[in-house]
Each structure stands twice: as C-alpha cells, then as structure tokens.
C-alpha cells in the first residue's frame, strides 16, 4: 500500500475482500508500517467486540415467528400450499371418477388369465393393479359399493384402459 495509509484497505484485508495481489501489497506495507499495525489491532478488537456482543443478544419475544405470523396476511402465507393440496385431491377424485366410469362400462370377464391387461404386465408387482383385483371385476352391487369405498386406493396406481 502506497502512502497515505487507508484504513478501508486494511479493513478489506481483514475481511478477505481483497484479491490475492492486493492483499499481498497491503500486507507487505502493513508489516513495515507502525500506523497500519496499530490500525489493524483496532480493527481486530472492534470485530471481536461485535462478535461477542452479538452472541450475548437477549432472547426477545418479538423474534419468535409466532409473534410475526399474526401480522402477516393469512392469504399470502398459508393459502398456497393449502390450495395445492386441495387441487391435488380434487384432481385425484376426478381421475378416480373417470376411471371408475370406464370400468363400469367396460365388458366384464371372469377370466383370471389377465390377457386383456397385458399392457400392465410390465408394472411392478408392488403396485396395485385393477387386473389383479377380482372385486373390481365383480358386477354385483355389493362389490361395486366396496370398490366405491376404496376406489381411490384401487385406481390410484392403475389408470383405466379400455379392454380389447
């Protein structure tokens, strides 16, 4: 650092804000300059004080999020995720209803060969498949009622497909 000495440069040096080249230049000067050495000691002391002061900060009720929450508009904080959730449920419900209608109108077969559902063969065994749930193929009122009660789970992983 050429004279005159600038404290902002020493400050930037301590903060790690200087480029390697600048840091080298300022460091080389400070090593031989009593004024800069003293200024560096002050800068370090101030930073140390501030860090200690920050650690001692008292707990304040105003810094609890609950205290702030009441002042935020409910519309902009709570609604979007709620809306998303409701939208997802509505979408799933609509998909399930469409799928159930398609199943109800499809030709029925009591065959257990599942030949008509070959397109699902590649699905994981762990996933629920309509083709492997006899109740879905049972035309009785009771069976339909049972499916209606659980169709969300039944149809969730099994998109309805027209039978060949």
């Amino acid at each position: 650092m050429s004279t005159p000495c600038r404290e902002s440069e020493l400050d930037a040096l301590l903060a790690g804000e200087l480029s390697a080249e600048e840091a080298e230049r300022v460091s080389a000067h400070a090593a031989t300059c009593a004024t800069c050495t003293r200024a560096l000691a002050w800068l370090r002391t101030e930073r140390g004080w501030m860090a200690q002061r920050a650690r001692r900060m008292p707990a304040r009720p105003a810094l609890r999020f609950e205290a702030l929450e009441a002042k935020l508009r409910p519309a902009s904080v709570a609604r979007p995720p709620h809306r998303e959730h409701r939208g997802w449920v509505a979408m799933m419900g609509a998909a399930a209803a469409v799928a159930f209608m398609a199943l109800s109108m499809a030709p029925r077969s009591h065959s257990t060969s599942h030949g008509g559902f070959s397109s699902e063969d590649g699905w994981s065994e762990g996933m629920v498949s309509i083709a492997r749930v006899p109740a879905c193929m049972d035309p009785s009122v009771e069976a339909v009622a049972r499916v209606e009660a659980t169709f969300g789970a039944c149809l969730l992983a099994s998109p309805a497909r027209p039978l060949p």
């Binding site: 002050w42 002391t45 501030m50 002061r53 304040r60 105003a62 979007p80």
Partner: protein, 211 residues
C-alpha cells in the same frame, strides 16, 4: 512489529454477506420457496435474519421495545415485497435497508431532527491513539456499556454505516446502497466513526485507565 506478528493479525477472517457459498445457495432456495408462498421457508429466513435486524434496530433506536416493533414491521414489509429483491445474495443488506427505512420513518413521525453528514475525502490514519492490547479483546460488561454509549454518541448516519460494516459485515458497496451514499462517502464516514469510537474508548482500555 515482526512479520510473524502481522501475519497473525491477518489470520482473522470474518464471514461477510454476499460471498458465494453453499449457505448462499441454501438461502437462495429458501427465497425461491418463500416467494412461492411457502411459510416454512419464510419462517426459516426470519429465524436466520431477525436477530441481526433486531440488533441493528436496537442500536439505532437504543430501545428494546422499539426494536421489537420495528423488527416485526421489517419482516412484514419484506414478506410483501420479496419479489422486489433483485439479487438474492443481498438479502441481509436488503433487510437491513428496510429496517433503516422504518427507523427513519419513525423518527420523522416523531419530528426528530436527522443530521446530514458532509462528503469529505477519507482522512489519513491517526497515529496518536494507543494500540489495544490482547486483553482488550475481551468485551466485559463494563466495556460493553462504554461501547454502547460511544456508539450512541455517533451521529445516526455514521453509526448506521459503521454498524453495517463492523457488526453486520456488509461490503462497502452494499452499505452505499443501503445509505444512498457514494462509495467514497461510505469509507469516509466509517473511518470517522471509528476514530470517534476509539477516541472515546481508548482511555478505558489496557493501561489507559480502566479499573
């Protein structure tokens, strides 16, 4: 002082706002989520930044209750204006800028005179003040009180600029933005604030008279 001693002094590196890091990336992700209305993300941002905002406001108001109220107002406004934050890396300085606006509004409402500083060139370093000793690094209760008094005696603008630098670690450019000043004025005001602070405290440090 030997080169070894000086290199030891340089070993202190305090984190500054705005540096690229994984923490910054995490904060950017939080900001993105908060802008989409995710309350959990906003809460996390509040919990990360509200202590610093409160401390800054307490230093300005010198009143805990006023700092409480202004901190909440800062985050209410920030919540409504998150979309206006252009540079996500500058969230801290943006929040502190809002906080200072709220402080100034409060002062104007109460009709308090705000002094305006003059723009001068950065003065040369003063050689008259003694150098602090390693013992002075410890901020005991007495010195903390003296420091608070000394800070309180600084003109508000000067105090704000100094604290934004030495307490909140803002870059000079960010302080210029918060204060609405030129870069030379920021450096000048911070330097003068430091000199005032040192003159006020030097007599209480080391062998300077503190009991």
């Amino acid at each position: 002082m030997s080169p070894r001693r000086v290199s030891h002094l340089f070993a202190v590196r305090l984190p500054l706002v705005g540096g690229a890091s994984s923490a910054d990336d995490a904060e950017r992700r939080l900001l993105t989520r908060a802008r989409r209305g995710d309350p959990v993300a906003f809460r996390t941002l509040f919990e990360q930044h509200s202590p610093a905002v409160w401390r800054f406001l307490r230093d300005l108001f010198r009143d805990d209750a006023a700092a409480d109220e202004a901190t909440q107002e800062t985050f209410v406004r920030a919540h409504g204006k998150l979309g206006a934050l252009r540079d996500d890396a500058r969230l801290a300085s943006w929040l502190l800028g809002i906080a200072r606006h709220i402080y100034l509004e409060s002062r104007r409402t109460r009709g308090t005179h705000l002094d305006i500083g003059s723009e001068e060139n950065e003065p040369l370093l003063e050689a008259a003040l003694p150098s602090p000793t390693p013992e002075d690094l410890l901020l005991d209760r007495e010195m903390e009180g003296l420091l608070a008094e000394a800070l309180g005696e600084l003109r508000e603008e000067r105090r704000s600029a100094l604290l934004l630098r030495i307490d909140h670690g803002l870059a000079y450019e960010d302080i210029a933005q918060v204060m609405g000043w030129s870069l030379p004025k920021v450096k000048n005001e911070i330097h003068r604030a430091r000199l005032q602070l040192r003159e006020r405290l030097a007599g209480h440090m080391g062998n300077g008279g503190r009991s």
